[in-house]
Symmetry: C2
Subunit: 395 residues, 2 copies
């Protein structure tokens, strides 16, 4: 389809076209690019449009869905019709040569809790004998606000957080002993909404620009001591990592699936409608290079469209750059769990790694990489790239 | 002291000098001003410094404490030495003639829970028979992240939020029936901090620029159904109102007091040090003009300096424009409670208003105004201005 000579199994084919922000050896000016095969198309250089030269996707995302569709259509034409080849080629830079930046300025960050398997696993671990799910779980997508200022680009070092944890002698100051990951998918709001006006489920694609991979780093010991009654705070706020490429919703048409059957009737504002937004993404979690989990996104109980409707049903407005994450993605089997606390069953069943070591939680020097992929319209798989981070000792 | 003819009991005297952002009939360009008596000093017009012409305080706040002290010193000189009078006077606009704007761009918003009386009141109401405080309460300042995008200027209409609430027949969709206020004091971060580096208690005044009044509007029925296990979300995120004037920390030297004696030993990172940041502010809550409460801030268990140290102890960074609020300010007597749920004891003891009506929670058309004041260095009282909002029927 494209006149480019793409690597055989690239996840960055002509049906993907994710957006990122980069600098290059020839220019330290941060600008918008699109990944294609092993290259980046420099949109600022090619189009001269200042919206692509701001150093973040926000200005372009704020233009709304017609602009998004129009540019995607043009890029597709440029990369498929050989008539454009001579004009385009000078603006294709080897991906290995560029430095990626945080692709968007994060406005508000919300984290949901929408995998039933994840919520049930945690419920079984921490409330044995009680129902695994809280009474509200099947009625609304539970979520909370996280710290937008510590959402950082993939690769940012993970400094082991310090803080208060419980001990038999009372609270103690520790470097977290239970540092964990949460493998999630993030949704990036492009078009804002007005204060006081809910966004219905059916308007999801009019507001959400695209999708990235998120690692919601978590310090379980800090979280356990602090979170009653107002929820997670310092156990999460030290760092949240996102992948550098934002895959447009438009690339995911072949990935849409029906969400799971719900056990409880939904209030009308949460009904899926005729075109639900279940998504058949597969995540992969690697610890020091070894695959430790492949969480399936298609089983998520609440879709991103429902999460958006819920988040705004009280009249809360959306801003360009709002990021909301799915919550830890876990499937029903052990090999599909999206956090170490689940994979090691709260430390009682440590993971065995290929080098002979075991892990319940992260050790200094450990590297976690989470990637994701989805079926593409042409039958191949499209990649979301990856989000990675290495643990450093506490300062 | 000043050559201006100030109203006798103004709260905006020469020792206050709070900062705000305004437009005027002569110019729709939003710019920084300082309140003095019944006037606003137009800093952009007077100084020509572009940092005061950006439409928010952020650029100036980001310059850090030396710039803050230097400008405050200059403004004090301009307004006290008559030699400056002819030059200054053209830049003094009647306050009644200007339109105030949200004074700063909110980066992250955090809400604490630091009044012992408030926390105990809620505990007694909702967990009768159990200890009023959760086990962590006296060991750390409990807090959570709120929605920065819905922090709005005083005067923004309060559209009654809709959402899910519990009923005997299961969850129902309602316009909130338990719409409430929370009278709080907000602290505005000026100078940022680095990711991975905690800010100690003693560095509070190097990072926090100033103080405003906050109304954390709350829908108690939405909150009650959603908040286990991840904390408040839609019950809070529809609106948080802030007062238009940010009082610099430097104005509060005469308001500093020792915080209450703590029952439990503090971990070292939370120790107050020799110059603790208890503050002798008094809030006043009016409902449709009638004073219903005067919450005392001096009794707050945790100071803003401790909250800052706690918020960053895990390595979370600060950004210019971060806002963190104290949590509802309540004192030990009924007349000092900072929320309606406390004033009406969860609806069992409705408030009697002067017009003969009663209130447990807010009705459509109700107006709430919260003001605050503190002792000034010259023996007068300085005003924080007020934050107000009127309830509109659900859309």
């Amino acid at each position: 389809m494209t006149w480019l000579d793409l690597p055989a199994s690239t996840g960055f084919g002509i049906t993907n076209l994710p957006y990122g922000v980069f600098t290059s050896p020839s220019s330290e000016h941060a600008r918008t690019g699109v990944a294609i095969g092993d290259h980046v198309l420099d949109l600022a250089g090619l189009t001269g449009d200042p919206v692509h030269a701001t150093g973040s996707l926000n200005a372009f995302m704020a233009q709304g869905p017609e602009s998004w569709a129009s540019l995607r259509s043009m890029i597709t034409a440029w990369l498929t019709d050989p008539v454009h080849q001579d004009r385009i080629t000078p603006h294709l830079l080897p991906r290995a040569s560029v430095t990626l930046r945080l692709p968007f300025e994060v406005a508000d960050y919300v984290d949901f809790y929408s995998s039933r398997d994840h919520a049930e696993n945690l419920g079984r671990m921490f409330r044995p004998g009680s129902p695994a799910l809280t009474p509200n779980w099947k009625h609304l997508p539970i979520g909370y606000h996280g710290r937008a200022g510590t959402v950082q680009l993939s690769g940012t070092p993970v400094v082991r957080p310090q803080g208060q944890a419980q001990s038999p002698e009372g609270p103690v100051f520790v470097a977290s002993r239970r540092l964990d990951i949460e493998a999630e998918i993030g949704f990036v709001v492009g078009a804002p909404s007005a204060l006081g006006t809910p966004v219905p489920v059916r308007d999801f694609a009019s507001h959400v620009f695209g999708v990235c991979v998120v690692n919601d780093w978590s310090a379980r010991d800090l979280q356990a001591w602090e979170y009653v009654p107002l929820g997670p705070f310092l156990g999460k706020s030290f760092l949240t990592s996102v992948s550098p490429w934002v895959v447009p919703l438009a690339a995911l048409s072949a990935a849409r699936v029906k969400p799971p059957v719900r056990d409880e009737a939904l209030l009308p504002y949460l009904e899926d409608g005729d075109e639900p937004w279940g998504l058949d993404l597969t995540l992969e979690v690697r610890l020091n290079g070894a695959v430790v989990s492949r969480p399936p996104f298609r089983g998520m109980y609440w879709t991103a469209a429902q999460q958006l409707a819920h988040m705004t049903v009280n009249g809360a407005s959306l801003r360009t750059g709002d990021l909301y994450a799915s919550g830890t993605v876990s499937g029903p089997t052990r090999e599909e769990r999206g956090s170490l606390i689940e994979l090691s069953w709260n430390g009682t069943e440590p993971l065995a790694l290929p080098d002979g070591s075991t892990r319940s939680f992260l050790e200094d020097g450990d590297e976690i990489t989470i990637s994701a992929s989805a079926p593409a319209a042409d039958g191949s798989r499209l990649s979301f790239g990856e989000v990675t981070g290495r643990v450093q000792a506490a300062h």
